[in-house]
Assembly symmetry: C2
DNA sequence: GAATTTAAAAATCTCGAGAAAAATGGTTGA
DNA sequence: TCAACCATTTTTCTCGAGATTTTTAAATTC
């Protein structure tokens, strides 16, 4: 059962033009090339993305699920705006949900889960070594996402994982604004490694505490950015 | 900032045909007249709802946000399936989120919030007196939703409230399958009243415990339904 | 000079028709 | 009898064009 469009969108190949446009738009919004608050004029965008107007409208409708696009009545679509308040809310909610999911995952996860986790960490570490280059950056982003995903993979609640995938996506958008300026500000590798160790040794309290700190640190590093950067 | 289509959809009047179709479809899915798992053929439905094919597709795309509709690749749309597992997950997740939101609401809510809460309870109680009739039933459903909404209204987290509105909608769908058979099985009124008292007296622990029990009781009453009723 | 009104321009919203894919059903062959 | 195959039908997906609404800009009035 595919709960969300985003969940189905990440794994398989796009089979329709709507799906392709949906992904391309999502990427551009998360990357920031489509600026927060910007008006999304269908007549302009349909040329950029090489699809018809109806198709693009449908893709934009799907992006509302992810709260990356907002629409109001008869006034078209906009890129969802950003604010420090919003990111603080995202961070708080994510800490709450992701810690709970992690505890359940640690409690339930079997050997196969452990193996997946170690593998995901290893792939992430490999990408961390070579720190520069934009396609390497994309690779790191993807592997970081997967590491966090695998951490909570053994949690049995589909809904918890669904909400977390939305929040992760939102957080990534803010994080990119930060890292764009200060490339790798803190030593994320050590945080990830400690988190892995705590999870493997089934120390749920410690793992949850580290995860909370990890997520909150990302918030603080974005918070440090001058307010003008966050185009209100 | 309107986070979701559902949030914007509930208050104001529909300004576009997409919005109208979205609401009509949502109502029919929650009510159950569109059966879980059923294929949603655009060519058929566009006549029923009096809109064009593209418009209906867009409305269906919006319903994916609410996880009331699922779509896969080149095979069209379906009403989201139901299962006891899913409802159990919804219940657990909702208990977790709604209790947390209630605690925050109780901690932060001011006199105006209290007044709104008492008013919402009163309106709900009025609807509870006259228990029969289908339009009265609709009214009760609406007021019940508002009561739960006002309970957590003072919670400052938009995301928590956003997720809860989705979960409430999902739960309502399951609840209707139950109440259709056994009209008002337990004395919900007493539960609501005790919940109100605990909230007003700022007893967060007690209120959260009652809310958890309240939500879980609904799950158990659906659980009691024979499995054949839940069209898998 | 500022505010209201009016007209033009742009954008959104909507529909119907055509191309591509999937589901259907009957036929053939082992 | 069963399975594989092909033609037909249905359905999904996609596009371009027309009707409303919003936005923009100029013109008029006070």
């Amino acid at each position: 059962m595919n709960i969300s469009a985003s969940a189905e969108g990440l794994s398989a190949e796009p089979k329709t033009l709507v799906e392709s446009a949906y992904r391309a738009l999502r990427r551009d919004i998360i990357e920031g090339s489509l600026v927060p608050g910007e008006k999304l004029r269908v007549e302009h965008l349909k040329d950029n993305y090489g699809v018809g107007a109806g198709t693009l409208r449908e893709a934009l409708s799907l992006l509302i699920s992810d709260a990356l696009v907002v629409s109001q009545g008869q006034r078209g679509f906009r890129v969802a705006p950003v604010s420090l308040e919003d990111f603080e809310d995202i961070t708080r909610t994510r800490v709450m949900l992701e810690c709970e999911a992690l505890r359940q995952s640690i409690a339930i996860g079997d050997d196969a889960w452990e193996a997946d986790l170690v593998a995901a960490f290893h792939r992430l570490a490999k990408a961390e070594e070579k720190r520069i280059g934009s396609e390497v950056r994309e690779e790191w982003e993807e592997r970081n996402r997967i590491f966090h995903e695998v951490l909570i993979a053994a949690c049995p609640s589909r809904w918890l994982k669904h909400f977390l995938s939305i929040l992760y996506q939102q957080a990534e958008r803010y994080r990119r604004m930060s890292l764009y300026l200060q490339p790798i500000p803190r030593d994320i590798h050590i945080e990830h490694e400690a988190l892995l160790q705590a999870a493997i040794s089934r120390d749920a309290d410690k793992a949850a505490a580290m995860l909370a700190e990890h997520i909150q640190l990302t918030f603080r590093s974005v918070q440090a950015i001058p307010a003008e950067q966050l185009n209100k």
